[in-house]
Protein backbone atom coordinates (compact mmCIF):
# COMPACT_ATOMS: atom_id res chain seq x y z
CA UNK A 1 0.00 0.00 0.00
CA UNK A 2 1.55 3.31 -1.07
CA UNK A 3 1.50 6.46 1.02
CA UNK A 4 -0.86 8.07 -1.54
CA UNK A 5 -3.39 5.32 -0.92
CA UNK A 6 -3.08 5.79 2.85
CA UNK A 7 -3.71 9.54 2.51
CA UNK A 8 -6.64 8.86 0.18
CA UNK A 9 -8.21 6.51 2.71
CA UNK A 10 -7.63 8.92 5.59
CA UNK A 11 -9.32 11.78 3.75
CA UNK A 12 -12.12 9.52 2.54
CA UNK A 13 -12.75 8.53 6.14
CA UNK A 14 -12.66 12.21 7.15
CA UNK A 15 -15.20 13.12 4.46
CA UNK A 16 -17.54 10.31 5.49
CA UNK A 17 -17.23 11.03 9.20
CA UNK A 18 -17.96 14.72 8.65
CA UNK A 19 -20.95 13.90 6.47
CA UNK A 20 -22.42 11.50 9.00
CA UNK A 21 -21.67 13.86 11.91
CA UNK A 22 -23.91 16.41 10.23
CA UNK A 23 -26.81 14.00 10.76
CA UNK A 24 -26.55 13.63 14.48
CA UNK A 25 -24.86 16.77 15.79
CA UNK A 26 -27.29 19.26 17.23
CA UNK A 27 -25.59 22.62 17.47
CA UNK A 28 -25.54 24.58 14.16
CA UNK A 29 -21.90 25.58 14.69
CA UNK A 30 -20.84 21.95 15.11
CA UNK A 31 -22.84 20.94 12.04
CA UNK A 32 -21.22 23.72 10.00
CA UNK A 33 -17.76 22.66 11.14
CA UNK A 34 -18.53 19.05 10.24
CA UNK A 35 -19.57 20.24 6.76
CA UNK A 36 -16.33 22.20 6.46
CA UNK A 37 -14.41 19.07 7.46
CA UNK A 38 -16.15 17.11 4.72
CA UNK A 39 -15.44 19.79 2.13
CA UNK A 40 -11.76 20.06 3.05
CA UNK A 41 -11.43 16.27 2.95
CA UNK A 42 -13.06 16.19 -0.49
CA UNK A 43 -10.63 18.87 -1.67
CA UNK A 44 -7.74 16.79 -0.37
CA UNK A 45 -9.08 13.77 -2.28
CA UNK A 46 -9.31 15.83 -5.50
CA UNK A 47 -5.73 17.00 -4.95
CA UNK A 48 -4.60 13.42 -4.36
CA UNK A 49 -6.17 12.42 -7.66
CA UNK A 50 -4.20 15.16 -9.44
CA UNK A 51 -7.13 17.55 -9.97
CA UNK A 52 -5.49 20.53 -8.28
CA UNK A 53 -7.75 23.15 -9.85
CA UNK A 54 -10.94 21.44 -8.69
CA UNK A 55 -9.43 20.95 -5.23
CA UNK A 56 -8.49 24.59 -4.94
CA UNK A 57 -11.89 25.79 -6.14
CA UNK A 58 -13.58 23.46 -3.66
CA UNK A 59 -11.72 25.20 -0.83
CA UNK A 60 -11.80 28.69 -2.31
CA UNK A 61 -15.51 28.80 -3.13
CA UNK A 62 -17.21 26.50 -0.64
CA UNK A 63 -14.96 26.58 2.42
CA UNK A 64 -13.47 30.05 1.98
CA UNK A 65 -16.61 31.90 0.91
CA UNK A 66 -19.96 30.08 1.26
CA UNK A 67 -19.27 28.50 4.67
CA UNK A 68 -17.78 31.73 6.04
CA UNK A 69 -21.14 33.42 5.48
CA UNK A 70 -22.99 30.48 7.04
CA UNK A 71 -20.75 30.57 10.11
CA UNK A 72 -21.21 34.32 10.24
CA UNK A 73 -24.97 33.85 10.35
CA UNK A 74 -24.69 31.07 12.96
CA UNK A 75 -22.61 33.38 15.17
CA UNK A 76 -25.58 35.70 15.38
CA UNK A 77 -28.01 32.96 16.47
CA UNK A 78 -29.18 32.82 20.05
CA UNK A 79 -26.80 30.34 21.69
CA UNK A 80 -29.10 29.98 24.70
CA UNK A 81 -31.73 28.26 22.55
CA UNK A 82 -32.63 25.09 24.47
CA UNK A 83 -32.53 22.95 21.36
CA UNK A 84 -28.76 23.54 21.12
CA UNK A 85 -27.98 22.32 24.60
CA UNK A 86 -28.73 18.70 23.74
CA UNK A 87 -25.60 17.38 22.09
CA UNK A 88 -27.20 14.93 19.66
CA UNK A 89 -30.31 15.10 17.52
CA UNK A 90 -32.98 12.35 17.47
CA UNK A 91 -31.38 11.18 14.23
CA UNK A 92 -28.35 9.88 16.14
CA UNK A 93 -29.20 6.23 15.54
CA UNK A 94 -29.97 6.82 11.86
CA UNK A 95 -26.72 8.78 11.49
CA UNK A 96 -24.64 6.08 13.12
CA UNK A 97 -26.34 3.46 10.94
CA UNK A 98 -25.47 5.55 7.89
CA UNK A 99 -21.86 5.82 9.04
CA UNK A 100 -21.62 2.05 9.53
CA UNK A 101 -23.20 1.46 6.12
CA UNK A 102 -20.80 3.83 4.40
CA UNK A 103 -17.82 2.34 6.22
CA UNK A 104 -19.03 -1.11 5.24
CA UNK A 105 -19.16 -0.12 1.58
CA UNK A 106 -15.67 1.40 1.86
CA UNK A 107 -14.17 -1.64 3.57
CA UNK A 108 -15.92 -3.96 1.12
CA UNK A 109 -14.49 -1.98 -1.79
CA UNK A 110 -11.01 -2.08 -0.28
CA UNK A 111 -11.20 -5.81 0.40
CA UNK A 112 -12.21 -6.47 -3.19
CA UNK A 113 -8.91 -4.89 -4.19
CA UNK A 114 -10.34 -2.54 -6.84
CA UNK A 115 -11.79 0.34 -4.81
CA UNK A 116 -11.02 3.04 -7.36
CA UNK A 117 -11.95 2.04 -10.91
CA UNK A 118 -9.37 3.16 -13.45
CA UNK A 119 -10.70 5.92 -15.70
CA UNK A 120 -8.96 6.94 -18.88
CA UNK A 121 -8.53 10.66 -18.37
CA UNK A 122 -6.25 12.77 -20.59
CA UNK A 123 -3.34 14.24 -18.56
CA UNK A 124 -4.41 17.86 -19.06
CA UNK A 125 -8.14 17.24 -18.58
CA UNK A 126 -8.23 19.18 -15.31
CA UNK A 127 -5.58 21.79 -16.02
CA UNK A 128 -6.49 25.45 -15.59
CA UNK A 129 -6.44 26.10 -19.35
CA UNK A 130 -8.70 23.18 -20.27
CA UNK A 131 -11.03 23.94 -17.40
CA UNK A 132 -11.28 27.63 -18.37
CA UNK A 133 -11.94 26.89 -22.07
CA UNK A 134 -14.64 24.29 -21.35
CA UNK A 135 -16.22 26.62 -18.80
CA UNK A 136 -16.29 29.63 -21.11
CA UNK A 137 -17.51 27.62 -24.12
CA UNK A 138 -20.18 25.48 -22.51
CA UNK A 139 -21.15 26.57 -19.05
CA UNK A 140 -20.89 30.35 -18.69
CA UNK A 141 -24.54 30.95 -19.62
CA UNK A 142 -25.76 28.53 -16.94
CA UNK A 143 -23.30 30.04 -14.48
CA UNK A 144 -24.54 33.55 -15.18
CA UNK A 145 -28.18 32.41 -15.00
CA UNK A 146 -27.56 30.75 -11.63
CA UNK A 147 -25.94 33.93 -10.35
CA UNK A 148 -28.98 35.98 -11.44
CA UNK A 149 -31.34 33.45 -9.82
CA UNK A 150 -29.36 33.60 -6.56
CA UNK A 151 -29.49 37.39 -6.64
CA UNK A 152 -33.26 37.32 -7.17
CA UNK A 153 -33.61 34.83 -4.30
CA UNK A 154 -31.54 37.05 -2.01
CA UNK A 155 -33.62 40.15 -2.85
CA UNK A 156 -36.83 38.16 -2.35
CA UNK A 157 -35.62 36.85 1.03
CA UNK A 158 -34.71 40.39 2.14
CA UNK A 159 -38.13 41.66 0.99
CA UNK A 160 -39.96 38.88 2.85
CA UNK A 161 -38.02 39.61 6.04
CA UNK A 162 -38.72 43.34 5.67
CA UNK A 163 -42.46 42.79 5.12
CA UNK A 164 -42.67 40.43 8.11
CA UNK A 165 -40.77 42.89 10.31
CA UNK A 166 -43.06 45.76 9.24
CA UNK A 167 -46.09 43.55 9.95
CA UNK A 168 -44.72 42.83 13.44
CA UNK A 169 -44.10 46.55 14.01
CA UNK A 170 -47.68 47.41 12.94
CA UNK A 171 -49.10 44.69 15.22
CA UNK A 172 -47.00 45.92 18.14
CA UNK A 173 -48.12 49.52 17.54
CA UNK A 174 -51.79 48.44 17.41
CA UNK A 175 -51.39 46.45 20.64
CA UNK A 176 -49.82 49.47 22.31
CA UNK A 177 -52.67 51.71 21.18
CA UNK A 178 -55.16 49.14 22.47
CA UNK A 179 -53.43 49.12 25.86
CA UNK A 180 -53.52 52.92 26.02
CA UNK A 181 -57.30 52.96 25.30
CA UNK A 182 -57.93 50.19 27.80
Amino acid sequence: MTIETVFLMVFALGALTGAVAMFFLRHPMRVALALIGTMVSLAAIYAQLGMHVIAVFQVLVYVGAVMVFMIYAIMLLDVRDRSFTERFSPLLVAGLAGLLLLLGVLVDGLLRGQPFPAVDVPPDAFSVGTFAIVFMEQFWVYFALTAVLLLVAEIAASAVIDIRRRGQDVAAAQAERGNERG
Binding site: M29, V56, G64, V68, F69, M75, L76, S127
Partner: protein, 354 residues
Protein backbone atom coordinates in the same frame (compact mmCIF):
# COMPACT_ATOMS: atom_id res chain seq x y z
CA UNK B 1 30.98 16.76 1.30
CA UNK B 2 28.00 18.50 -0.32
CA UNK B 3 27.49 15.59 -2.73
CA UNK B 4 27.63 13.13 0.16
CA UNK B 5 25.01 15.17 2.04
CA UNK B 6 22.74 15.27 -1.01
CA UNK B 7 23.15 11.53 -1.57
CA UNK B 8 22.31 10.85 2.09
CA UNK B 9 19.28 13.12 1.81
CA UNK B 10 17.91 11.42 -1.31
CA UNK B 11 18.47 7.98 0.22
CA UNK B 12 15.94 8.87 2.96
CA UNK B 13 12.29 7.78 2.58
CA UNK B 14 10.13 10.34 0.71
CA UNK B 15 8.13 11.22 3.84
CA UNK B 16 11.34 11.99 5.73
CA UNK B 17 12.57 14.15 2.85
CA UNK B 18 9.33 16.12 2.84
CA UNK B 19 9.39 16.53 6.64
CA UNK B 20 13.00 17.74 6.44
CA UNK B 21 12.09 20.31 3.78
CA UNK B 22 9.10 21.50 5.84
CA UNK B 23 11.39 21.91 8.87
CA UNK B 24 13.82 23.91 6.73
CA UNK B 25 10.99 26.34 5.93
CA UNK B 26 9.11 26.44 9.23
CA UNK B 27 12.06 26.86 11.62
CA UNK B 28 13.53 29.97 9.95
CA UNK B 29 9.98 31.28 9.53
CA UNK B 30 9.30 30.98 13.26
CA UNK B 31 12.63 32.67 13.97
CA UNK B 32 11.73 35.43 11.51
CA UNK B 33 8.35 35.85 13.23
CA UNK B 34 10.03 36.15 16.64
CA UNK B 35 12.49 38.76 15.41
CA UNK B 36 9.81 40.65 13.46
CA UNK B 37 8.18 41.39 16.83
CA UNK B 38 11.54 42.72 18.04
CA UNK B 39 12.01 44.74 14.83
CA UNK B 40 8.50 46.15 15.21
CA UNK B 41 9.16 47.40 18.70
CA UNK B 42 12.55 48.81 17.71
CA UNK B 43 11.34 50.49 14.49
CA UNK B 44 8.28 52.01 16.13
CA UNK B 45 10.49 53.04 19.05
CA UNK B 46 12.86 54.92 16.77
CA UNK B 47 9.97 56.50 14.86
CA UNK B 48 8.60 57.74 18.20
CA UNK B 49 12.09 58.90 19.29
CA UNK B 50 12.47 56.13 21.87
CA UNK B 51 15.04 53.34 22.11
CA UNK B 52 12.67 50.38 22.26
CA UNK B 53 13.54 47.09 24.01
CA UNK B 54 17.17 47.18 25.20
CA UNK B 55 17.28 45.28 28.47
CA UNK B 56 17.30 41.53 27.66
CA UNK B 57 20.64 40.57 26.09
CA UNK B 58 22.90 42.91 24.12
CA UNK B 59 20.77 45.71 22.57
CA UNK B 60 17.68 43.74 23.60
CA UNK B 61 18.34 40.96 21.06
CA UNK B 62 17.09 38.26 23.42
CA UNK B 63 13.77 40.04 24.04
CA UNK B 64 11.77 37.68 21.69
CA UNK B 65 13.23 34.65 23.52
CA UNK B 66 12.20 36.13 26.88
CA UNK B 67 8.70 36.85 25.50
CA UNK B 68 8.40 33.28 24.19
CA UNK B 69 9.46 31.79 27.54
CA UNK B 70 7.00 34.04 29.38
CA UNK B 71 4.09 33.09 27.12
CA UNK B 72 4.95 29.39 27.20
CA UNK B 73 4.92 29.29 30.98
CA UNK B 74 1.69 31.27 31.48
CA UNK B 75 -1.60 29.52 32.13
CA UNK B 76 -4.11 29.19 29.31
CA UNK B 77 -7.38 30.27 30.92
CA UNK B 78 -10.61 28.99 29.38
CA UNK B 79 -13.50 31.36 30.21
CA UNK B 80 -16.66 30.15 31.93
CA UNK B 81 -19.24 28.74 29.50
CA UNK B 82 -16.77 28.95 26.63
CA UNK B 83 -16.79 26.13 24.11
CA UNK B 84 -13.55 24.51 25.29
CA UNK B 85 -12.82 22.43 22.18
CA UNK B 86 -13.38 25.26 19.71
CA UNK B 87 -11.69 27.80 22.03
CA UNK B 88 -8.49 25.75 21.97
CA UNK B 89 -8.83 24.79 18.27
CA UNK B 90 -9.14 28.38 17.03
CA UNK B 91 -5.44 29.33 17.35
CA UNK B 92 -4.52 26.15 15.45
CA UNK B 93 -7.02 27.05 12.71
CA UNK B 94 -5.41 30.49 12.51
CA UNK B 95 -1.82 29.35 12.21
CA UNK B 96 -2.26 26.24 10.02
CA UNK B 97 -3.16 28.13 6.80
CA UNK B 98 -0.50 30.76 7.55
CA UNK B 99 2.16 28.03 7.57
CA UNK B 100 0.69 25.78 4.85
CA UNK B 101 0.70 28.66 2.36
CA UNK B 102 4.52 28.62 2.38
CA UNK B 103 4.49 25.26 0.56
CA UNK B 104 4.22 26.96 -2.85
CA UNK B 105 6.49 29.96 -2.18
CA UNK B 106 9.68 29.71 -4.26
CA UNK B 107 12.74 31.15 -2.50
CA UNK B 108 14.98 30.88 -5.55
CA UNK B 109 14.83 29.28 -9.00
CA UNK B 110 13.53 25.75 -8.27
CA UNK B 111 13.81 26.15 -4.49
CA UNK B 112 10.19 25.38 -3.61
CA UNK B 113 8.53 22.69 -1.51
CA UNK B 114 5.58 22.01 -3.89
CA UNK B 115 5.88 23.34 -7.43
CA UNK B 116 2.17 23.02 -8.30
CA UNK B 117 0.60 24.60 -11.38
CA UNK B 118 -2.28 26.24 -9.54
CA UNK B 119 0.05 27.78 -6.93
CA UNK B 120 -1.56 31.20 -6.85
CA UNK B 121 -5.05 29.69 -6.51
CA UNK B 122 -3.73 27.52 -3.67
CA UNK B 123 -2.47 30.65 -1.93
CA UNK B 124 -5.83 32.38 -2.38
CA UNK B 125 -7.64 29.31 -1.04
CA UNK B 126 -5.45 29.12 2.05
CA UNK B 127 -5.57 32.83 2.83
CA UNK B 128 -9.36 32.56 2.70
CA UNK B 129 -9.23 29.85 5.41
CA UNK B 130 -7.43 32.05 7.94
CA UNK B 131 -10.69 33.79 8.81
CA UNK B 132 -12.04 30.65 10.51
CA UNK B 133 -9.54 30.89 13.35
CA UNK B 134 -10.71 34.42 14.10
CA UNK B 135 -14.43 33.72 13.76
CA UNK B 136 -14.29 30.61 15.92
CA UNK B 137 -12.10 32.31 18.54
CA UNK B 138 -14.61 35.14 18.80
CA UNK B 139 -17.61 32.85 18.99
CA UNK B 140 -16.18 30.20 21.31
CA UNK B 141 -14.89 32.75 23.86
CA UNK B 142 -18.41 33.51 25.15
CA UNK B 143 -17.53 37.21 25.27
CA UNK B 144 -19.27 40.16 23.61
CA UNK B 145 -16.01 41.95 22.86
CA UNK B 146 -14.58 38.84 21.23
CA UNK B 147 -17.75 38.29 19.19
CA UNK B 148 -17.76 41.90 17.99
CA UNK B 149 -14.10 41.63 17.04
CA UNK B 150 -14.71 38.38 15.16
CA UNK B 151 -17.64 39.88 13.25
CA UNK B 152 -15.64 42.94 12.28
CA UNK B 153 -12.70 40.83 11.26
CA UNK B 154 -14.75 38.38 9.19
CA UNK B 155 -16.50 41.19 7.29
CA UNK B 156 -13.20 42.97 6.69
CA UNK B 157 -11.28 39.92 5.52
CA UNK B 158 -14.05 38.78 3.17
CA UNK B 159 -14.37 42.30 1.70
CA UNK B 160 -10.67 42.79 1.07
CA UNK B 161 -10.22 39.26 -0.26
CA UNK B 162 -12.21 40.28 -3.34
CA UNK B 163 -9.96 43.26 -4.08
CA UNK B 164 -6.88 41.13 -3.49
CA UNK B 165 -8.22 38.38 -5.74
CA UNK B 166 -8.84 40.87 -8.55
CA UNK B 167 -5.32 42.28 -8.12
CA UNK B 168 -3.91 38.78 -8.43
CA UNK B 169 -6.01 38.18 -11.56
CA UNK B 170 -4.00 41.03 -13.11
CA UNK B 171 -0.77 39.22 -12.24
CA UNK B 172 -2.10 35.99 -13.75
CA UNK B 173 -3.09 37.85 -16.94
CA UNK B 174 0.35 39.47 -17.20
CA UNK B 175 2.33 36.28 -16.53
CA UNK B 176 -0.01 33.82 -18.26
CA UNK B 177 0.52 31.31 -15.47
CA UNK B 178 -0.71 30.40 -12.00
CA UNK B 179 2.64 28.92 -10.99
CA UNK B 180 4.46 31.36 -8.69
CA UNK B 181 7.89 30.37 -10.01
CA UNK B 182 6.78 30.95 -13.60
CA UNK B 183 5.28 34.32 -12.60
CA UNK B 184 8.72 35.38 -11.32
CA UNK B 185 10.45 34.09 -14.47
CA UNK B 186 7.98 36.10 -16.59
CA UNK B 187 9.56 39.22 -15.03
CA UNK B 188 13.09 38.21 -16.09
CA UNK B 189 15.14 40.64 -18.17
CA UNK B 190 15.72 43.78 -16.18
CA UNK B 191 14.14 45.90 -13.47
CA UNK B 192 11.88 47.39 -16.18
CA UNK B 193 10.40 43.92 -16.81
CA UNK B 194 9.05 43.63 -13.27
CA UNK B 195 5.26 43.71 -13.06
CA UNK B 196 5.39 46.71 -10.76
CA UNK B 197 5.30 49.11 -13.72
CA UNK B 198 2.36 47.77 -15.77
CA UNK B 199 0.44 46.67 -12.66
CA UNK B 200 1.22 49.59 -10.35
CA UNK B 201 -2.43 50.31 -9.33
CA UNK B 202 -2.96 46.58 -8.76
CA UNK B 203 0.16 46.46 -6.59
CA UNK B 204 -1.20 49.29 -4.44
CA UNK B 205 -4.56 47.52 -4.14
CA UNK B 206 -2.82 44.22 -3.35
CA UNK B 207 -0.67 45.68 -0.60
CA UNK B 208 -3.45 47.72 1.00
CA UNK B 209 -5.67 44.62 0.91
CA UNK B 210 -2.82 42.59 2.39
CA UNK B 211 -2.53 45.00 5.31
CA UNK B 212 -6.31 44.83 5.80
CA UNK B 213 -6.38 41.00 5.53
CA UNK B 214 -3.79 40.64 8.24
CA UNK B 215 -5.82 42.98 10.49
CA UNK B 216 -2.81 45.25 10.85
CA UNK B 217 -2.86 48.98 11.56
CA UNK B 218 -4.46 51.15 10.24
CA UNK B 219 -7.09 48.44 9.57
CA UNK B 220 -6.92 46.82 13.03
CA UNK B 221 -10.52 47.50 14.06
CA UNK B 222 -10.91 43.78 14.81
CA UNK B 223 -8.72 44.26 17.87
CA UNK B 224 -9.18 48.01 18.39
CA UNK B 225 -8.20 48.32 22.04
CA UNK B 226 -9.95 51.68 22.50
CA UNK B 227 -13.30 50.17 21.43
CA UNK B 228 -13.39 46.42 22.00
CA UNK B 229 -10.38 45.82 24.30
CA UNK B 230 -8.50 43.31 22.12
CA UNK B 231 -11.28 41.97 19.93
CA UNK B 232 -11.39 38.31 19.00
CA UNK B 233 -8.42 37.28 21.21
CA UNK B 234 -9.41 39.21 24.33
CA UNK B 235 -10.01 36.02 26.33
CA UNK B 236 -6.80 34.29 25.25
CA UNK B 237 -3.70 34.04 27.39
CA UNK B 238 -0.39 32.20 27.42
CA UNK B 239 0.54 30.02 24.47
CA UNK B 240 -2.95 30.16 22.91
CA UNK B 241 -2.55 33.94 22.58
CA UNK B 242 1.02 33.50 21.32
CA UNK B 243 -0.20 31.23 18.51
CA UNK B 244 -2.54 34.00 17.27
CA UNK B 245 0.43 36.33 17.42
CA UNK B 246 2.55 33.88 15.42
CA UNK B 247 -0.20 33.52 12.80
CA UNK B 248 -0.53 37.29 12.38
CA UNK B 249 3.19 37.78 11.87
CA UNK B 250 3.53 34.70 9.62
CA UNK B 251 0.75 36.18 7.48
CA UNK B 252 2.53 39.54 7.38
CA UNK B 253 5.71 37.85 6.14
CA UNK B 254 3.67 35.86 3.60
CA UNK B 255 1.99 38.99 2.19
CA UNK B 256 5.41 40.70 1.98
CA UNK B 257 6.96 37.67 0.26
CA UNK B 258 4.10 37.54 -2.24
CA UNK B 259 4.47 41.27 -2.99
CA UNK B 260 8.15 40.64 -3.72
CA UNK B 261 7.40 37.59 -5.90
CA UNK B 262 4.44 38.89 -7.87
CA UNK B 263 5.40 42.53 -8.48
CA UNK B 264 9.13 42.94 -7.70
CA UNK B 265 10.72 40.00 -9.51
CA UNK B 266 11.14 37.70 -6.47
CA UNK B 267 14.73 36.48 -6.38
CA UNK B 268 15.67 38.38 -9.59
CA UNK B 269 18.35 41.02 -9.17
CA UNK B 270 17.50 44.68 -9.92
CA UNK B 271 20.92 44.89 -11.63
CA UNK B 272 20.03 42.15 -14.13
CA UNK B 273 20.16 43.56 -17.68
CA UNK B 274 21.62 46.84 -16.43
CA UNK B 275 25.21 46.01 -15.42
CA UNK B 276 27.33 43.88 -17.82
CA UNK B 277 27.07 40.11 -17.33
CA UNK B 278 30.81 39.94 -16.58
CA UNK B 279 30.22 41.82 -13.29
CA UNK B 280 28.30 38.83 -11.93
CA UNK B 281 31.49 36.75 -12.18
CA UNK B 282 33.32 38.98 -9.66
CA UNK B 283 33.88 37.32 -6.29
CA UNK B 284 31.41 38.32 -3.55
CA UNK B 285 30.23 41.56 -5.20
CA UNK B 286 29.22 39.58 -8.29
CA UNK B 287 27.37 37.07 -6.13
CA UNK B 288 25.55 39.88 -4.34
CA UNK B 289 24.59 41.70 -7.54
CA UNK B 290 23.43 38.48 -9.25
CA UNK B 291 19.94 37.05 -8.75
CA UNK B 292 19.48 34.84 -5.72
CA UNK B 293 17.62 34.15 -2.51
CA UNK B 294 19.21 37.22 -0.85
CA UNK B 295 17.26 39.54 -3.18
CA UNK B 296 14.03 37.77 -2.31
CA UNK B 297 14.75 38.12 1.42
CA UNK B 298 15.76 41.79 1.07
CA UNK B 299 12.59 42.65 -0.85
CA UNK B 300 10.45 40.76 1.67
CA UNK B 301 12.17 42.61 4.54
CA UNK B 302 11.44 45.92 2.83
CA UNK B 303 7.70 45.18 2.65
CA UNK B 304 7.73 44.00 6.25
CA UNK B 305 9.25 47.35 7.18
CA UNK B 306 6.33 49.04 5.40
CA UNK B 307 3.90 47.15 7.67
CA UNK B 308 5.71 48.52 10.72
CA UNK B 309 5.97 52.01 9.23
CA UNK B 310 2.20 52.07 8.54
CA UNK B 311 1.48 51.10 12.14
CA UNK B 312 3.61 53.92 13.49
CA UNK B 313 2.25 56.50 11.06
CA UNK B 314 -1.47 56.12 10.40
CA UNK B 315 -4.33 56.49 12.87
CA UNK B 316 -6.89 53.67 12.90
CA UNK B 317 -9.60 53.82 10.23
CA UNK B 318 -13.23 53.85 11.29
CA UNK B 319 -15.11 50.65 10.44
CA UNK B 320 -17.36 52.31 7.83
CA UNK B 321 -14.31 53.97 6.25
CA UNK B 322 -12.65 50.57 5.88
CA UNK B 323 -15.71 49.12 4.20
CA UNK B 324 -16.05 52.14 1.90
CA UNK B 325 -12.38 51.93 0.89
CA UNK B 326 -12.66 48.22 0.13
CA UNK B 327 -15.91 48.14 -1.80
CA UNK B 328 -16.10 51.61 -3.36
CA UNK B 329 -12.46 52.39 -4.12
CA UNK B 330 -10.23 49.33 -4.34
CA UNK B 331 -12.58 46.95 -6.18
CA UNK B 332 -13.57 49.50 -8.90
CA UNK B 333 -9.88 50.44 -9.36
CA UNK B 334 -8.92 46.80 -9.93
CA UNK B 335 -11.77 46.20 -12.39
CA UNK B 336 -10.84 49.28 -14.43
CA UNK B 337 -7.16 48.31 -14.44
CA UNK B 338 -7.98 44.76 -15.55
CA UNK B 339 -9.63 46.29 -18.65
CA UNK B 340 -6.57 48.51 -19.21
CA UNK B 341 -4.33 45.49 -18.80
CA UNK B 342 -6.40 43.54 -21.33
CA UNK B 343 -5.85 46.33 -23.85
CA UNK B 344 -2.10 46.45 -23.08
CA UNK B 345 -1.82 42.68 -23.60
CA UNK B 346 -3.91 42.83 -26.80
CA UNK B 347 -1.68 45.59 -28.18
CA UNK B 348 1.42 43.65 -27.04
CA UNK B 349 2.88 46.67 -25.24
CA UNK B 350 6.54 46.00 -24.42
CA UNK B 351 8.67 45.01 -22.70
CA UNK B 352 6.15 43.08 -20.58
CA UNK B 353 3.70 41.75 -23.17
CA UNK B 354 5.78 41.92 -26.38
Amino acid sequence: MFEWLMESFYSLPVVMQILFKITLIVLPLMLAVAYTTYAERKVIGYIQVRIGPNRVGPRGWLQPIADAVKLLTKEVIVPTNANRFLFLSAPVLAIAPALAAWAVIPFDDGMVLADINAGLLYLLALTSLGVYGIIIAGWASNSKYALLGAMRSAAQIVSYEIAMGFALVGVIMAAGSLNVGQIVMAQEGSIYHWFLLPLFPLFLVYFISGVAETNRAPFDVAEGESEIVAGFHVEYSGMAFAVFFLAEYANMILISALAALLFFGGWLSPFQGIVPESVFAWPLIGWFLDSGIHWFLLKTAFFLFLFLWFRATFPRYRYDQIMRLGWKVLIPVTIVWLFVLGVLIFLKVGPWFA
